[in-house]
């Protein structure tokens, strides 16, 4: 009733003014806490590392042609206040003497790790049965795109790949 009446009259009562004033000051104080807190909350999501590094994944000559070979290496990861090493696996695939590719072992569906099955000539993801051919192309299952390929270079017979740090 009070509110309805005041909405039609330009006059503001002392009580109405103070109530409004206190509410606005409270809202301002709330914002002073909430805004920094939100920044604090999302902070790590805004720190995306763009650093890249060439990593030696072994001699090309050690990999047999048409036989994808899993190579595991360690990369250093800065994780908040901890710097740790994690193992990462890739497949080196030689199509012939000269042509080769390096594939990620991470399924493009929901990031499980795929394994090479030499008997079937397929990479199979154990999570949801995503199946890829030797070059990482999709055969069946839920994966939306082929396995990711790394940028590569050959130096002194060694394969190097460009890895995000």
């Amino acid at each position: 009733m009070h509110n309805v009446k005041r909405a039609h009259s330009p006059e503001v009562s002392r009580r109405g003014f103070l109530t409004g004033f206190i509410l606005w000051v409270s809202a301002a104080i709330g914002a002073i806490i909430t805004v920094p807190a939100l920044g604090f909350f999302v902070s790590p999501a805004n720190k995306i590392s763009t650093a890249e590094k060439w990593i030696d994944v072994g001699k090309l000559a050690d990999v047999k042609i048409k036989s994808p070979t899993a190579v595991t290496f360690n990369i250093k990861i800065k994780d908040g206040w901890v710097t740790s090493e994690t193992a990462q696996t890739v497949f080196i695939v030689r199509e012939d003497e000269k042509k080769y590719i390096v594939l990620s072992n991470q399924c493009t569906h929901l990031s499980c790790k795929v394994a090479w099955h030499p008997d079937k000539n397929e990479y199979i993801c154990p999570c949801h049965n995503g199946i890829y051919d030797m070059e990482g192309g999709n055969i069946s299952g839920p994966p939306p795109r082929p396995l990711d390929r790394y940028k590569t270079k050959l130096d002194n017979g060694h394969v190097f790949i460009l890895v995000k740090e």
Binding site: P36, G39, F40, G80, W81
Partner: protein, 226 residues
């Protein structure tokens, strides 16, 4: 029923806002001064401590290997981390000061007397809880100052007759300050003591609303003049 009913009124009607408003916000109070706001101010700082403390747990790691580094991370790398930790750090000291000022106001005005004795007794427990929060929180940065403050504090517990040495071991989770000490101080600091604080605060404030606040005492001379 009103024709123009907005959603606020819809909620107000269902939660019985009118009664809450009458009991808390528009209740009658005697003519008082600014010293009577110290209790609310303490509560306000407590709320700030709750909010900033909850946020700090997102980055803080209560292990001897990581505690110090995680706080460095908060201070240097997290967006406005220095501000959130700063509020919590200074809020802790301010809260202890406010609690004492509030207590002195109540004491000098004799506001602890009948029928408010229970409010006062709950207040003494609140004081102890706030001090315990300060003590447990002091260890968490795990720097030199924290370490030796805890050393001193727990040694004080150790000189209690008969049960002292045992009490000290319970406090530290062993014979010396270490991983167990940090973990249990953290647990007390973020779970046990805040829960106790909330329970005591609710009871304390309930009594303030139920009994009402006392007017400043009138001295004999003023009384005669009046």
């Amino acid at each position: 029923m009103e024709e123009k009913q907005n959603w606020l009124q819809w909620i107000a009607e269902r939660i019985g806002w009118e009664a809450i408003d009458k009991a808390m916000l528009t209740r009658k109070v005697p003519k008082v001064n600014w010293a009577f706001t110290l209790g609310s101010t303490t509560m306000f700082v407590a709320i700030i401590q709750f909010i900033t403390g909850i946020f700090l747990t997102m980055y803080y790691s209560p292990s001897p290997d990581h505690a110090y580094d995680s706080i460095n991370y908060i201070m240097n790398d997290v967006t406005l981390g220095w501000l959130i930790r700063g509020l919590h750090h200074w809020g802790a000291s301010i809260m202890v000061i406010l609690v004492f000022l509030h207590m002195w106001r109540v004491f000098y005005y004799g506001a602890y007397k009948y029928p408010r004795e229970l409010t006062w007794i709950l207040g003494t427990f609140l004081l102890l809880t706030v001090l315990a929060l300060g003590f447990t929180g002091y260890l968490l940065p795990f720097n030199q100052k924290s370490y030796f403050a805890t050393q001193v504090g727990s040694s004080m517990a150790g000189v209690v007759p008969v049960i002292g040495p045992y009490l000290k071991r319970v406090l530290l989770g062993g014979n010396a300050i270490g991983a167990l000490t940090l973990a249990r101080f953290y647990s007390w600091h973020i779970w046990f003591l805040p829960a106790l604080l909330v329970i005591l605060m609710v009871a304390h404030i309930y009594l303030v609303f139920r009994i009402g606040i006392s007017a400043p005492p009138v001295f004999a001379e003023e009384d005669e003049e009046a």
